[in-house]
């Protein structure tokens, strides 16, 4: 018989500590759609997505019932559309965006990722066209998510793309001003974007992947926080140990669901993403974990060290629990999606500058941060350049998902509802970087990219 305490511990994790599987994401290759009549491409994409993922939601719900663990999101990621739609004009790309949106609606999923361009070293004409259509694609659809990989450690930082993305993010926010600027919340700019990330908005199905895979993202900040609260005065070695043990258990759950989902859908298992993903619910916050460690308020001195410890321990504990680990794997710090982060940002303790420092030691980047509506495109681009440089120099993934709150200023907030939460508009340094951004070109790859 199973141990009584173990059983009660698991039930408590789910019942009161918000343990859940954050996402079961099916990655679908659309490369086979690329051949044939260009006019029929959008229809072929719709058919491929809806056929491949036909049973995704049903199987997800079955697993929830049988295993008694909530699976919050069932989602789909596809091959970067800039590759699938190479040769299309702007209207062609927008037709694809609408087809993806329709497919997501048919499947009953809330997001579909892959309206993506990979341009770390340079952009093809198709990639430039796709990037230009992002504002309209995101404002005229509900479920499509877009991402742009603008830098890698190997290639360097494509500053032309970074300059353009500042304008694109602003334009996307402007076009969705009447909906809390939600468009910008579905758009991510990456350095070192992973090809198997199951989390939105940055999910896409890389070209190195097979036809179809199941990737799973686990969660559980509440469980980790509860564990830490039980050892208020433990030295750091002990703290790291308890986090590792908890991360192991959480990840085993993810691995179990991933394996079973893969078997029932007849689709190979891809990876488990060892992430601590918060939600706006009380008791499901990464910020509160840092505070439980003893940092007075998230954003205060000590926050980066606490986060580094947390991030490392989560990975060490999780890696043995899964047969294959990938994606972003680390603690997320999206401001609007984390109750503790929202409180810290509102109180002024957590600043954009501190968040930038924190992203050097965790996954993934400046995430879900609302900035004043009159922030210039050049400032946004410079913010992206800073953040991506951290990723490039440290050989890690970093990303920027900021939301210019059009018509709003510091102290006000954007309210998205659901898992996207509420974003207090944060102060941002407004010194004019336009001469830096307008230089254009490529910031060369760092010396440690030369490994051969």
């Amino acid at each position: 018989m199973l141990n009584t305490n173990d059983i009660l511990e698991t039930v408590r994790m789910i019942e009161t500590e918000h343990l859940d599987i954050r996402t079961v994401t099916m990655g679908i290759s659309l490369l086979r759609c690329a051949g044939g009549d260009p006019a029929g491409l959008a229809d072929r994409i719709y058919d491929t997505v809806t056929t491949r993922a036909e049973h995704l939601v049903r199987v997800g719900e079955e697993l929830e019932r049988e295993y008694g663990i909530p699976i919050v999101n069932k989602r789909v990621s596809v091959t970067p559309i800039s590759l699938v739609g190479a040769g299309q004009d702007a209207e062609g790309f927008l037709r694809i965006a609408r087809a993806l949106d329709r497919a997501a609606d048919t499947l009953g999923i809330n997001f579909i990722g892959g309206y993506t361009a990979l341009v770390p070293k340079g952009a093809t004409e198709s990639e430039r066209i796709l990037i230009d259509t992002i504002p309209e694609a995101l404002s005229s659809t509900e479920r499509v998510c877009a991402s742009v990989n603008a830098a890698t450690t190997k290639a360097g930082l494509n500053m032309d793309a970074v300059a353009r993305m500042g304008q694109i993010i602003r334009r996307t926010a402007e076009l969705t001003q009447d909906r809390q600027c939600i468009g910008a919340a579905k758009l991510v700019v990456f350095a070192n974007a992973p090809e198997d990330n199951p989390f939105m908005a940055g999910a896409f199905h890389g070209v190195g992947e097979g036809d179809c895979v199941i990737n799973v993202g686990v969660s559980g900040p509440g469980v980790v926080c509860a564990t830490i609260e039980k050892c208020p005065d433990a030295p750091f070695e002990e703290l790291a140990e308890v986090i590792k043990k908890t991360a192991f258990k959480i990840t085993r759950m993810g691995q179990l669901i991933a394996g079973e989902a893969s078997r029932r859908l007849g689709v190979p298992f891809g990876i488990v993403d060892l992430s601590l993903a918060p939600t706006p619910a009380v008791g499901d916050s990464v910020a509160r974990i840092l505070e439980a460690m003893g940092v007075g308020c998230c954003g205060g001195c000590g926050t980066t060290a606490a986060l580094a410890l947390l991030n490392d321990a989560v990975k060490k504990g999780g890696v043995m629990a899964s047969s294959r680990v990938g994606g972003l794997s680390g603690a997320f710090i999206p401001v609007s999606e984390d109750e503790g982060m929202i409180a810290a940002a509102k109180s002024g303790c957590l600043t954009v500058e501190k968040l930038e420092a924190m992203t050097a030691v965790c996954s993934v980047g400046l995430d879900m941060i609302a900035i004043p509506g009159d922030t210039s495109a050049a400032v946004i681009s410079a913010l992206i350049a800073d953040e991506l440089s951290i990723g490039v120099a440290n050989t890690k993934t970093t990303a920027v998902r900021v939301i210019p709150a059009i018509g709003k200023k510091e102290g006000e907030s954007l309210s998205f509802g659901g898992l996207l939460g509420d974003a207090p508009v944060m102060r941002i340094n407004r010194a004019d970087p336009s001469r830096f951004i307008s230089r254009g070109g490529l910031i060369p790859a760092p010396i440690h990219s030369l490994k051969n």
Binding site: L2, I7, V11, E15, E66, I69, R252, M253
Partner: protein, 89 residues
């Protein structure tokens, strides 16, 4: 497949009888059972074999949920593998 049913809540007469009756009705065979009462707080764990279930697991879980609501209890029914994978290497 085997499932673990946990029942927690304020103690009252006939909790085990009610859950067991539901198991019998749906063809879930009780393999192991343990229960304890701590300061009027009732906690029971039951391992059931579902191989001869007459209803789908989802419907059985729904019935358990109804029973929980009626009696002010919390009842969870989860696949045994959840515990095996979380707590055993």
């Amino acid at each position: 497949m085997k499932a673990v049913i946990t029942v927690t809540g304020k103690d009252s007469m006939g909790i085990i009888a009610a859950v067991s009756a539901l198991c019998t009705e749906h063809g879930a065979n009780i393999v192991d059972i343990s229960q304890t009462v701590m300061q009027e707080y009732f906690a029971m764990m039951m391992l059931v074999d579902l191989d001869r279930m007459r209803t789908p697991f989802g419907a059985f879980a729904d019935e358990l949920e109804k029973l929980a609501e009626k009696n002010g209890l919390k009842i969870h029914a989860m696949h045994e593998d959840v515990f095996n994978s979380m707590h055993r290497i």
